[in-house]
Amino acid sequence: MRRIVVVGASAAGLAAAETLRREGHDGTITLIGDEPEPPYDRPPLSKQILAAEWQPDRLALRVPADLAALDLDLRLGVAATGLDLVARTVRLADGCEVPYDGLVIATGVRPRRLPGEGAHVLRTLDDALMLREQLKPGLRLVVVGAGFLGAEAAAVARRLGAQVTLLEPAAVPLAHAVGVEVGQMLARAHVDQGVELRCGVTVTEVTEDGVRLADGEVVEADEVLVAIGSLPNTEWLGGSGLAVGDGVVCDAYCEAAENVYAAGDVARWYNPLFGASMRIEHRTNAAEQGMAAARNLLAAPEARKPFAPVPYFWSDQYDMKVQAYGFLRGHDEVAVVEGDVAERRFVAVYRTGGRVGGALAVGMPPKAIRGWRQAVVTGAAWHETVRTDIPVVEA
């Protein structure tokens, strides 16, 4: 395998490129990114960048020397527009056709939007800088969507003195992801800080004055941030023959077609650890999956390894750090095993079927949750680890 093309130059694509070199690939690596910047990090966009605590140069995922050492054929500021699986070429927006022997697809996601003009989204550095420019004391900001991204932005805007209204269609923010009790606690934290939180409201469009709700009410705003989830960037694969369904459909090895792998936010793969197909938009997964895809691309068929990670995410809101391991969505039960949710200092454990599927901690030292990560790795039986109060011993 001489020519490897990686489409997508963010965390997953960069991790793939680095891993290819680490694993000894000495052929060409073409790394294609539609943004003009060298690979940069996104989680600080809704945190340190929005708060103007960091300047954009701190986002670089690698210093120039480390990037240069990878000896990449780096194509930045140009999107991939087509894939020909038979000819084994990737078509670019500038008209180039790049041939490959192996391909890693890491094109990520883009924000979902609402009808109407003028709203902010928060995905790229430009998005964050444009919103940051507006955040001033007294600004009336409406944030549509109280998921983690919207909640983090709301927290930063509030701290900067903006009047923040957070609009959420669900009755309890994030209940589907973290459970009702934890979701209510997170909601309460915003209300305590003076955010106006309105749940159970559906926004139908962005207007000149703010946003319009399904019942016709207009919520006025100077600026609007729409944070209602994202869509995988798969349109460029149309007609290629690759299976696409809420992401590039892959097997447990992250393979989508022969010598074609996918990684990061755009990849929907079968995670054997949970026996489920999943697509995960977490920063850590992007890096881990980029590495796994690259290794499997280079490996002999019998040496490939299924990608079976324990997902991890964190979120910073006000003085709270939320950390979670595992796959919490679709859980059947939540148990608080340490601390107190009301005090915002606790560990909650999530049951999926008969096993420990995940754990979430707020305000706890890392050792308090590391043991639970191990319980997720081993698929520990719920009734043995939680119900009978046997503490999980750190491995």
Partner: protein, 64 residues
């Protein structure tokens, strides 16, 4: 090789500890700490794994 950690970038994910438990630990706030600054060739792959999975890009190997 020498390992460098930018602790003020750390987001306390603990992924480095998972990747290289005898090189990294976390303090009570979760911030990564180096258990050793010098790593031998036997630990190099684990440290490179930690660098790759660090969600904050806070770990580097010093260039000789």
């Amino acid at each position: 090789m020498k390992v460098e950690l930018e602790a003020d970038k750390c987001v306390a994910s603990g992924q480095c500890v998972v990747a290289a438990m005898d090189v990294f630990d976390q303090d009570d706030d979760g911030i990564a700490v180096l258990l050793t600054e010098e790593v031998g060739d036997d630990r190099l792959d684990d440290v490179k794994e930690a660098i790759a999975v660090c969600p904050a890009a806070a770990i580097r190997l010093a260039r000789p």
